[in-house]
Subunit: 402 residues, 2 copies
């Protein structure tokens, strides 16, 4: 039997009731987030009432198209760009593939270099290697310093007229390090003016300030499920006239650039989630920053190591290690207590070491012990207290010896 | 102010209340469908409770993965295939692009012919032309007879050892004609054994019987929003070992074949929608067939022309024409009465003539007058009666003169 608690929509099964209700603490918000209730309410209206195909010519189609274009305007305004520069996709991975595979078709012998960062998401890294093979491109990997920050002097050395595309993230998903996007962009524009610049901003939106005017990218990607929106929807910002080809062709949707019936409930949900993510952003950053500091202090007291550079990071992310304890053992022990953290990225969760930590020069016991704690604006003080208490208990149980 | 009617989730705004509540009749189910309430309920539990990333290693991730794999098993069982042959995508258009763009990479000088049907969806037609340009392929267009059925003797002539891919639909979206998929498949297997066979079954699922054993395709695509499931989710059935490359690379999801965090609520919704679509299928077919006949009779009484071949069509689709009246005028006039039909495919709705009617040899006033009425298992007798009454009224108003 299901009991529904109306305020938080938490559902407790009879089994769970019998084992005694226990606070569930979700601290893996860089992997995905819970959909906001307001987002779900907005989507529900589309699912059950304005369910028309936005490409249909009747009123039911027009109504759906209206919701879709309103959402596009909301998102464009929040990003400070034009509506026609926003394209809807199934998520950031599709957006990244679209940009990289499409730009690769413009390659020539004189313009065949990709610059990608060493700590990028697999969506960039794997796609770079795939298109390099198909189109015979050269890949230059941009290294980071020990805090995970891209080395600008190394970037400068790699930039020349052969560069086709530079793909870099604004904030790292595994350790939370912020990148100097404005400086990177200025360097790219001055040293390789014909290069395209793709910014993976998936982890920034709703957690740190984004200034698209200063960043000046050609392309920028977002995924709704990283900011309390639904899964299966994302966007590509493409500066007017910059996206060369579609990745997915067919019925001519998205002005011929992305075919397939648009996911209108998802689009409306993403726009609502984006509004909520930037509302009270400063207050939320402050709260998450406070939690990050509390966690750092406790970890140090317990004899652990803080990997995330706290003075240059997303406020919601803190990667720590208890050398000698394996990260996935700690993850499992916490999971049994209904506390959810990650070792590294969910998308690489089956691999044993992190390419991000490796690029930062972090090896051995510290790398193997790393866990990532990622909060969100929904995280409460009560949850953090419970997490910190339980962490201490679990580490004792696992025999952690500072 | 919104008034919510709990049973049908219909929402009536104050404006609508003032103009007097009027039955809304949605007869454009080949373009998209309303999400079933049971589907939305199933999705809601995932959105608000089991919202983990299925690739995360903790319990919240495992629970999401469990829902996803249960859904994959349900869909595989309904199609009579193996779970590992089902891949989740953002919809049929992505699935089609994936197959066609991926198979095209296997082309060689000796194996460079695409056979595509003249009445295919734009997802196949446009993608064929795009990959033909990129990979230097030859396209052979398979013609249809006056009922829209593919000509088997023409197919036989085109089949040889140079054929890389044959892409054909099981039922036409615009006129509802059923294709002899089993015979097509047998011909392909005997005359071009190395060719891949892609079947676009988007319009068949939940409206007619599908026999994958007899059809014996290498690839088959479905979109959930065509059978009362959510938008933004679809699947690719790919026979074991047949899909050569991913279209979207990254985090290694879907066994390395389709990257991006899986849309678990969408996947669960699609599986639930599929179960509902095949439950009582025969009864639903019978009901839709009855409506189709009622509409045909009335259209003929009114002096119109029935284009759909009723003895070889989807039960839910009937395309008719009132020569002299433009299809989009009739569509608009019906839309004002809250009755929603289409001229031709929603994906081609901005084009003035239908490539399907053209291929069937239907031209001039009949082609320009065509409208498509597509019912679903949710369509009621009351709605059909209201539609037929209104159709007569509207035709008089438009000055239709038999």
């Amino acid at each position: 039997m299901l009991t529904i608690l109306p305020h938080h929509f938490a559902i407790i099964t009879t089994d769970q009731q019998q084992e005694g209700f226990k606070l569930e603490v979700y601290l893996d918000n860089n992997a995905t987030t819970r959909v906001d209730d307001e987002v779900l309410d907005a989507m529900r209206l589309i699912y059950i009432y304005d369910y028309g195909n936005p490409n249909s010519l009747h009123r039911k189609g027009n109504d759906a198209a209206q919701h879709m274009e309103d959402s596009r305007r909301i998102l464009a305004k929040l990003l400070g760009v034009k509506s026609k520069e926003i394209f809807f996709t199934s998520g950031a991975t599709e957006s990244i593939n679209w940009v990289m595979r499409s730009v690769a078709r413009l390659a020539s012998e004189k313009r065949n270099k990709l610059i990608i960062g060493a700590v990028e998401h697999k969506a960039v890294l794997k796609t770079a290697h795939d298109i390099a093979k198909i189109h015979n491109l050269d890949i230059a990997i941009l290294p980071v310093d020990e805090k995970g920050v891209y080395l600008l002097d190394e970037l400068e050395k790699k930039l020349d007229e052969t560069v086709l595309l530079v793909a870099l993230m604004s904030a790292n998903n595994e350790v939370g390090t912020l990148q100097p996007v404005e400086e990177i962009s200025k360097l790219v524009r001055s040293k390789a003016p014909r290069a395209f610049l793709l910014v993976d901003a998936v982890q920034s939106f709703g957690k740190s300030k984004m200034d698209l005017e200063a960043w000046n990218p050609d392309f920028l990607v977002l995924s709704a499920h990283k900011f309390h929106g639904p899964k299966g929807i994302g966007l590509l910002y493409a500066r007017e006239g910059r996206i060369p080809f579609p990745l997915i062709t067919g019925g001519g949707q998205e002005r011929g650039f992305r075919a397939g019936t648009q996911n209108v409930p998802g689009i409306v949900g993403m726009a609502k989630a984006a509004e909520l993510a930037v509302k009270d952003l400063e207050k939320n950053i402050e709260k998450m920053r406070k939690f990050q500091k509390l966690i750092a202090k406790k970890v140090e007291t317990l004899g652990g190591v803080v990997i995330t550079p706290l003075n240059n990071s997303l406020p919601n992310t803190i990667t720590v290690s208890f050398p000698g304890i394996l990260g996935h053992h700690l993850l499992n022990a916490l999971s049994l207590e209904k506390i959810y953290v990650s070792t590294h990225s969910a998308c690489s969760s089956s691999e044993s070491t992190s390419h991000v930590l490796e690029a930062m020069g972090i090896k051995g016991k510290i790398a193997l012990g790393a866990i990532r704690i990622s909060t969100s604006r929904m995280t409460t003080e009560e949850e953090i207290s419970f997490f910190l208490e339980t962490l201490e208990k679990v580490l004792k149980f696992l025999g952690f010896d500072r």
